[in-house]
Symmetry: C2
Subunit: 249 residues, 2 copies
Amino acid sequence: MTGWLAIAGLGPGDEALVTPEVTAALAAATDVIGYIPYVARVTPRPGLTLHPSDNRVEMDRAAHALMLAAGGARVVIVSSGDPGVFAMAAAVFEAVDHGEAAWRTLDIRVLPGITAMLAASARAGAPLGHDFCAINLSDNLKPWPLIERRVRLAAEADFAIAVYNPRSKARPDGLDRAFAVLRDICADARPVLFAHAVSTPQEALHIVPLPDARGDMADMRTVVIVGSSQTRIIERPGTPLLYTPRSAS
Amino acid sequence: MTGWLAIAGLGPGDEALVTPEVTAALAAATDVIGYIPYVARVTPRPGLTLHPSDNRVEMDRAAHALMLAAGGARVVIVSSGDPGVFAMAAAVFEAVDHGEAAWRTLDIRVLPGITAMLAASARAGAPLGHDFCAINLSDNLKPWPLIERRVRLAAEADFAIAVYNPRSKARPDGLDRAFAVLRDICADARPVLFAHAVSTPQEALHIVPLPDARGDMADMRTVVIVGSSQTRIIERPGTPLLYTPRSAS
């Protein structure tokens, strides 16, 4: 049996946002590996072994998957959202880069998914309709001064900014510090979107002007999108629409 | 009949990358509107009217869709990739913002799709695995000095940079000018990915070091991803892998 490894994105939560490509890979798999809540989204069946693991063991998980695939298993690593955005794809390639030579010849594919910021953007309107950036606020893997520098330069570039992992347990004040940097540069009341658990039953969207944005408006399941200077709100009955025009001057 | 408007992303080309949500919307539609090659991806059926239109008529197309939906039609506007990323969603909300008051009460949904940079990233490995930005290089809708400023600040922030619309007919030298800005700031040989028509029969990936990158390596169907200072290549038989590690210092 020839093994392979697919690193697959399950999207933000709704099964209607899982691509047929990912569904087909799961149907062909012998082993599914991933963080506990993501593996819980895969339906058990005979011939499929589920390997749920805890958070923050990405490198162990990657090595486990590579060893199984090298041994002939058909392995799917599941991520939420897109596996290439602050998720398992980079971890697997780090393992390949520094691991056994035989891993380089494995059949490894990345299967893209709907990443959190694009699901959130779609639900709110089109806040990422013009130039934007994505910043991971977790300082597990990079020093805080680098994060702060990126937030500052992104604001100077007038990007809309998608913030992943806005609340890290180790640094609960990170998002407040990022907002302080942004308020320092952006003197306006541009909208900030807090999008919680988009496409799940717990979905909640909340828009506040930057001067009123607070770190405790986000949790681990929130993606935050800070508008650019051009981002606009369309008031209407119910939830307002948020969008960034295509043109800028 | 109550009309609605869905602005749907068809992904980069492969039907296996179209979400079930988008497939369901197309099955329920009475009218499909969009740029000719995207509408051509929708299978005709009785009861469905296809409205293909030329490029660069986004505002006419948006108004047409809103009028049809206001009249009771079930309308899907199709974009390639994700409709919220340099595509039709922002155009529709611009039309709503400046158009008839009745349009604000319409049922309008954005259905996300796999955007070009994430499809390209998946195929190449994980070059967007750390902080990154997306810049539209077309200067139809913004002045060139703003584009150049954003490219410079993005390089200073050490983002990986995804470049959409790298070749505009009106300014064929735009990408060369962007590379010149990048070489000015980044003294290294970081990899640049040219990803052409990902997930279609014409797919072609090409990786060159920044000093060798030239504008004519891209065309209208290419997305370009410029690595950060940390982006690495894993050599192996066949196509090398490209990834950006999760950590940075």
